[in-house]
Amino acid sequence: MNKRVTRRELLTLLAATGTSATVLNASAALGMIPDTRLNLPEIPRADPANRPSVVILGAGISGLTAAYELDKAGYDCVVLEANSRAGGRCYTVRSGDVIDEVGNPQVCEFDDEPHMYFNAGPARIPSSHRNLMHYCKELGVELEIFINENKETYFQDDAMFGGKPVKNNILTTNARGFMAEIMAKSFTTAELDESFSEYEAEALMSAVRSFGDLNDDDLYTGSFRAGYKAGGFIDHGVQKEVVAFKELLKTRFLNMALSQNEGETGPVLFQPVGGMDMIVKGFERALPDKIYYDILVTSVQLNGDGVDVQYEHNGMKYAISADYCFNCIPTHLMTGIPNNFPSEYVQAMQYVKRGEAYKSAFQAKRRFWEDDDIYGGITWTNQPIRQIWYPPHGVHKAKGVILSAYDFGGGMHFTRLSQEERLETAIKQGEKVHPDYRQLTEKGITIAWHRMNHMLGCAARWSSSFGGMTEEEERMYHTLQAPAGGRHYTIGDQISMHTAWQESAILSAFWAINDMVERRGGTGRMPGQQVV
């Protein structure tokens, strides 16, 4: 029965065997839904005698993107930033930097060396984030590979192996082996023949065997993928013992272990050489004299055909009016700044929840992880620190900066602690993975985004559940995305359905620019190709 399966039949089959997500992804692979493409806004060049003016509030990635594109098109742009630095949450901490946490200012005392930095906000650039990749290229930001999953890192769960850390390669190799064995056993030949041609069934089964490194009897009996117990180069390799599958089921890390190298955190990931804020510095280079720092915005008023902004700087009050305002001030802070926005717009701003993410880092006195074959990657633990990140850069140098906690969910556990408690907690929990952690680490810093001055929050959260946005939430989202008074755009990753990524911040700025261009009469371009 070598019948050709039609596309619809395949989708039905996948839907029967998998989830709707399987169908969605398969649809993309078959070219049925569009993928995101580099989609720079096309902005008609401004009339030099009558340049539209734009005041941009906040020099985060979205504000910088808007300023860069509009400035290039001849618009008259200024950027007003509350902080003494640009970048918002795109923030790299180095020697001497003051971490401006409300009630807990810290000074970073890392060694003053180019590789001794900590990306306190975004730290990964997926290669598929092509708009951000575009700006890295355009702004001359040198990139290097970031390593997310490393098979030599650890999983540590108090419930598994008596709390002893286990190497990623042992956990994933054994998990895949056992899962493949189950998969191989779960279909009879007759069942497979019913859904697939002989050729397809063979392809599927050979993939399942290879997925788990099964033996000829479709059984998992261990694999060299978990590393050698001994030998393997000059002498015969000795295989490690198979671990009890039930032991692996004591942890909830299997899902993390098998998915951390997939999707947006899958290869290839990049980081800018020298710190994520090299992107910010690139924008700053391209926008000389356009960005003003230490600005306290005191009022934002729609005036019918533009926006009036008042601000204070250095004890003096100023007023500026512009045709447009692009505003990436966090919505939860904008609600405290006097404005005359429509009430439903303010309601939407009030609804968005503040993100709580927390990160901390230590300077390592020596790169102890390299003694353990670890070069980059992430260790996972079930303790509140959740993760330890090893730097993929600075290989074999004397020291390195290690991420000692990343609570990307409810980061309030650490946020609530004093600075001393935060660091001590990170050491105690890190010791469960690296016994000499206390002796090997120093000069800790912590970033509780919920309390960072001028931000008071990490990535915005629109949805109150994992089930996605409700109809009401989606209505508010579109209310806030649309320009207030046709002139004031709220931008940033906060106006995206995929918050916490720089790509979203860029695309939110693009959305606003495209909307503005359309309202100004479009690009003037006719559809189709001109015939000469």
Partner: protein
């Protein structure tokens, strides 16, 4: 002068951490002359003290300087901000933890210059019932809710109703007004018993919202 005071504050704050802070490091922070209230208070309370319930920052505009001073001292002495699972409260504690009396005076003087139009009421209730319940409040806070410094009873009309709602509940639950050093708070904790239910609180706040206009 103001920025130098802030520098001193930061130096004090830094000294309590494991790291020590050099003057050059703060120069790198370049404060650009912004004073403490502008740099820190405004983030939560809004640039003119209009308040921002979204981040738990109550309105400070038009607040009495003596009451503001008492509260800052209260947060510094840790008899305010005692509900540990309420972030804004201990944010306030940390923010004033290492402030000197002189720095508190500086902040009080600056914030006293803040003024703003009243915020819209957020609480609904029966104002008739509220006016009856308010009789016992009026003894200290005044018939028009204007306050009475001699009794350390603050004015109520310029304060946000959501903030008053929260404070009344804190007094009722003992998070506020239980500390032995907080004599005025103890007085209020003893008085708040007349408001027995949340309906009582809503009604009295609805009535307070009608005062002072």
């Amino acid at each position: 002068m103001k920025s130098r005071n802030y520098l001193a504050l930061l130096l004090l704050a830094g000294a309590a951490l494991t790291q020590t802070v050099s003057a050059q490091q703060y120069e790198a922070f370049h404060l650009a002359g912004l004073n403490l209230a502008e740099r820190v208070c405004a983030t939560c309370h809004g640039p003119n003290g209009k308040g921002n319930p979204i981040v738990g920052g109550p309105r400070l505009a038009d607040i009495e300087p003596w009451y503001l001073r008492n509260q800052l001292i209260g947060f510094r002495s840790e008899f305010r901000g005692t509900q540990k699972d309420y972030i804004p409260g201990y944010e306030m504690q940390d923010s004033v933890a290492r402030m000197s009396d002189a720095e508190i005076e500086e902040v009080v003087a600056y914030i006293s210059s803040w003024s703003a139009s009243p915020n819209a009421p957020t609480i609904t209730g029966n104002t008739n019932r509220g006016s009856e319940l308010y009789v016992s409040c009026a003894a200290c806070h005044g018939i028009e809710g204007q306050g009475n410094e001699a009794l350390a009873a603050p004015g109520l009309t310029e304060k946000d109703d959501w903030y008053l709602f929260r404070q009344l509940n804190l007094f009722k639950s003992g998070y506020r007004g239980s500390h032995p050093e907080d004599q005025w708070g103890q007085q209020m904790r003893a008085s708040v018993g007349v408001l027995e239910t949340s309906q009582d609180i809503n009604d009295v706040l609805a009535y307070i919202n009608t005062l002072g206009s």
